[in-house]
Amino acid sequence: MSGTPERNGRVTDGGTTAEPLLEVRDLSIVYDEDVMAVDHVSLELGRGETVGLAGESGCGKSTLALGLCRLLRPPAVITSGSVVYRGSRLAAGGVDLMEQSSRELRKLRWREISVVFQSAMNSLNPVLRVRDQLGDAIDAHLKLGRREKQDRLGELLDLVGIPRERLRSYPHELSGGMRQRVVIAMALAAEPEVVIMDEPTTALDVVVQKEILAQVVELQQRLNFAVLFITHDLSLLIEIADRIAVMYAGRIVEIGTAEKIHNQASHPYTQGLLGSFPSVHGARRELAGIPGSPPDLRALPPGCPFVPRCAHAREQCREIDMSLGRVNDADASHLTACPFVRPRTAGDWSPTARTAEAGPAR
């Protein structure tokens, strides 16, 4: 493919005809007045959909997740944008989370939108038993009688595959995987429609990670909630997500279906990420990596922030506005911020940015 594709302004991740469950428009979040952690990000989450948000540390993915449910504290300030939520029980007509009072937000949080935080070790209170901890969450958001609450606690543990007698355990008596399951059970306590998962399995061993992910997928099929799954591990997202948004320096640089991101990655950063991780499966391929290191958000270059690390960088890159355009005119769901580089097809894994002095992959 050659030439610049048609730029159709600030288009969104179209493709879905029904109104999305959660619709983020032009969200910007600034720290300390000068660090643009999230820069005009738009993202949609459909009912029952799993959207993956991939990026490295400091790219703004966690800030985005916390920002869209208004969980950030100063010095983080939301400077622009809207997040419209359209629930089936509540807020059917759509409410803008950015305009809700804290009392109204409390009604939405947990019941409608819940969050599974990074590292379960730290998000459970060490001096509370599992029962009390889960019970607190239920008391705060649901009105249940004593008996009902007991039943619900048992159901929740059944849901995530933990024996009921563990209700009496303290967090330190549980393995890392079990703790993470408790946190997931907690997030699901009020049957929310959106669950935001921020690196839920990063600290876990790969076997446990797989078990928990399988569990989440199974629960999702059963309870039909939507998941925004945040991780640095793109290979994992390709396996579990319907759509993937790749973030770099506070911006979404590419978004598309998992299949498109895997087979027709278009943005040089996405291509670089895909070429960075060794896979235990499939034929050996040449790994490329990305030269340089992630940028300092305080001192971003004008235009595309990936320029210093990009093998395809050219003069015009310093002037582009990073709005998303279609990779392929016929496909409204696959968007990239790079107007120049077009997908490599699967099988064409010639590295783009291998530094000359790097040793051979043996």
Partner: protein, 362 residues
């Protein structure tokens, strides 16, 4: 006639093709007495671990957290005294934990730690961190000679301009840069063996490969014997000649990395490989988790009899629970500690028989 029954075996590692044996772990065992629980409970973090490190070759030690891989690395580094077993340097038993022997040992064997944020003293500059080992191990005297050597070291790990980096404090460096300083510090001792304990797991995905490439380059340049400790079996596939898989303190499988990862023989290795994310599966790969409580993890308590993986193993029999399996031959380069190899990896055994019969005939 050669039978299908695997026999206890001496394997010749693929790493041995690259150079002579330098450092050897011989039946290393490390027991910790647990302070809690019933009296006299002993945890063997490592049990009977034997392997060799060869000049210019990389051996990967793979396992989940708690498998004992770091304990083995620390014993080899002389930082932990083995309960039983020997460490042999050039065929001679050494006791680095003894007073006076440690520094001499350190001149040959250096270690790199997982967390570059913790392994460098934050109140000293990079120059200070590097001049000390230069003075102690290379016995250089005079400011200029030392400064010149520090410059050379920084150049080797590509932290240029070198005098700029020499003046920096750890907090002024990124994670990847700090890890490069840690490499330079290890090289300052002019070692022959490098023990790298999860050297890239704390780094961003996009820069991991660069650091691994550097490690590989230093290996070939200085003919280092490298032990690469990791939880990521995929990176072992790409980076190591041989891969040794540990479970609950014991070696369960060993062999050339490509073989072990592509055709794993031990049920645990099979589980590990199957659990690694596989982007090629694109969403349909995650089968829902089996219902019921997660299976009990294997225990490293020294009182455990039989195969330590048996509680999680789908193939376990009464023999597995009663009798600890020795390392059994799969072929001339591979072995696994499993009684059920004839079921777990029948074709591998058949292949070996065929090959051996052919060599007898010719």
């Amino acid at each position: 006639m050669i039978t299908a029954r695997p026999t206890p075996a001496e394997v010749l590692p693929a790493a041995a093709e690259r150079g002579p044996l330098v450092l050897e772990a011989h039946a290393l065992t490390k027991n910790y007495r647990l302070s809690h629980g019933p009296r006299g409970v002993v945890l063997s973090a490592a049990r009977g671990v034997s392997f060799g490190l060869y000049r210019s070759a990389v051996v990967a030690l793979v396992g989940e957290s708690g498998s004992g891989k770091s304990t083995v690395a620390r014993m080899l580094a002389g930082q932990e005294r083995p309960t039983q077993g020997e460490i042999l340097l050039d065929g001679v038993a050494v006791q680095p934990w003894k007073r006076g022997a440690f520094r001499a040992f350190k001149s040959d064997v250096q270690m790199i730690f997982q967390d570059p944020f913790a392994s460098l003293n934050s109140v000293h500059t990079v120059r200070y961190a590097l001049s000390r080992p230069v003075r102690l191990h290379q016995h250089l005297k005079g400011k200029e000679a030392i400064a010149a050597e520090v410059g050379r070291l920084l150049e080797r790990v590509r932290l240029t301009p070198t005098d700029q980096f020499a003046r920096k404090y750890p907090h002024e460096l990124s994670g990847g840069q700090r890890q490069r300083v840690a490499f330079a510090r290890a090289l300052a001792a002019r070692p022959r063996v490098l023990l790298a304990d999860e050297p890239v797991s704390m780094l961003d995905v996009s820069i991991r490969l660069g650091v691994l490439d550097l490690l590989d380059e230093l290996r070939s340049q200085f003919e280092l014997a490298v032990l690469y400790v990791t939880h990521d079996i995929a990176s072992a596939r790409y980076f190591a000649d041989d891969t040794i898989v540990m479970y609950a303190g014991e070696i369960v499988e060993r062999g050339p990395s490509e073989d072990v990862t592509q055709r794993p023989a031990h049920p645990y290795t099979q589980l590990l490989v199957a659990s690694a994310p596989d982007p090629d599966k694109l969403g349909d790969g995650l089968e829902p988790a089996p219902s019921g409580p997660p299976r009990r993890a294997g225990s490293a308590l020294s009182s455990v009899v039989g195969c330590r993986f048996a509680p999680r193993c789908r193939l376990a029999t009464a023999r597995c629970r009663a009798e600890s399996p020795p390392q059994l031959r799969i072929n001339s380069q591979r072995a696994a500690a499993c009684w059920r190899l004839d079921v777990a990896a029948p074709d591998l055994l058949q292949q070996d028989i065929k090959q051996r019969e052919e060599t007898i005939e010719t």
